[in-house]
């Protein structure tokens, strides 16, 4: 009995990393998550096999063995100007995908400089496995290691699905086209 209690206590003791970790501020698609520094409302999530953009006057095309996930969100700073630099796509099985650094020098990508009272749209682009699409959560914070500070946790639920049970995946997504600001 004592051993069982001790085992349970040992298993359930939160680790230092958990105790001093980020404080989640929850939201979902269409419902803003309000962190200490900024509010974020995810408006849509789109998926594509290829990312298309323009760089130095020429077209760039990024293919993926998985799928590109493009999140468009409306954000605003709360009490002071803030640079939102970090986002993670956390899949249903806990796999964490950092922001892709492949699409460079394209508009509306992080870091997003937010000003109080001036809501603006921005995008977050991830390269993920198709089985991580449904039931994912978007984690957004000012910097890469939020400790004892709030982090937006936006549930990416209620995605429109096609016949195969997955959301529609476009052949190509043009990052140049409107959808970011204003």
């Amino acid at each position: 009995m004592a051993a069982a209690v001790l085992f349970a206590m040992q298993r359930s003791t939160p680790r230092y990393q958990d105790l001093t970790g980020p404080i989640p501020a929850y939201g979902n698609i269409g419902k803003a998550a309000s962190t200490r520094l900024f509010d974020i409302e995810v408006e849509r999530v789109e998926f594509a096999r290829q990312l298309v953009g323009k760089r130095f006057g020429g077209e760039t095309r990024h293919e993926s063995a998985g799928v590109w996930a493009i999140v468009t969100a409306r954000m605003v700073a709360r009490s002071r100007s803030v640079n939102v630099t970090h986002a993670v796509w956390e899949g249903p099985t806990g796999l964490r995908y950092e922001l892709s650094d492949r699409p460079e020098f394209l508009p509306d990508l992080p870091p997003h400089t937010l000003e109080p009272g001036l809501p603006q749209r921005g995008r977050f682009v991830f390269e993920i496995r198709p089985d991580q699409i449904l039931g994912a959560t978007l984690l957004v914070s000012e910097g890469p290691f939020p400790r004892l500070d709030s982090e937006a946790h936006v549930a990416l639920n209620a995605l429109p699905t096609a016949a195969d049970g997955l959301p529609p995946i476009a052949e190509a997504f043009d990052l140049q086209q409107a959808g970011g600001r204003p």
Binding site: R80, P107, E115, P116, G117, R181
Partner: protein
């Protein structure tokens, strides 16, 4: 009776020690907290612009071994565009700063020019608005250029703010070693087209 006396005396001593220990705990716990939190509290206190010194319109004030004067605070509405959100106003603040103490690099470390409204919201300089070339520089660059005592340097920053809040904004200057004290200039922005 003789056998009980030493035990009673021991009990009394123990009770006294327990009482003393309890009182010591009341003293030592806050003391330990003060010792442990002292550094964090000091960092928090000296890392923020908390105590404003008001500077009247047209006036100047000393901070960090220099005399600061707000030369101009101008604002203009901006059309929404690729990097400009809707309802934005551009504000440019320009200071003329007369250096009195030559150790500007140390005195101006962590220099921060900002705009503040009545609700405590703060807007930091933006890089979205390109400004025409002039001798005016950003605060950190001006400090890095090593001005000497007696020099007057011009410092200029651009801001992106919401139109409805723009008229009520005040320019502020905060320098690292001077925090939590900072300057707040009463001069309101003037609208230009």
């Amino acid at each position: 009776m003789n056998a009980r006396d030493p035990a009673a005396a021991r009990d009394a001593t123990e009770r006294r020690w327990r009482r003393h220990s309890l009182w010591l705990l009341v003293l030592l716990l806050p003391l330990a907290m003060v010792v442990v939190m002292h550094d964090s509290a000091r960092t928090w206190w000296s890392g923020r612009a908390l105590i404003a010194r008001e500077v009247p319109t047209g006036g100047e004030a000393d901070l960090g071994g220099a005399s600061w004067r707000l030369r101009a605070l101008r604002m203009a509405p901006l059309p929404a565009g690729k990097r400009i959100p809707e309802n934005a106003m551009g504000v440019v603040a320009e200071f003329a700063v007369q250096v009195q103490d030559a150790d500007v690099r140390k005195n101006w470390a962590g220099c921060e020019i900002a705009l503040e409204d009545g609700q405590g919201r703060r807007w930091m300089p933006t890089r979205v608005l390109p400004l025409p070339r002039s001798e005016a520089r950003e605060c950190v660059l001006a400090a890095g250029s090593g001005p000497k005592a007696g020099d007057t340097v011009r410092i200029r920053h651009a801001f992106l703010v919401p139109r409805d809040a723009a008229a009520a904004l005040r320019a502020t200057v905060a320098l690292g070693p001077q925090r939590p004290r900072y300057l707040r200039f009463a001069q309101p922005p003037t609208l230009v087209q």
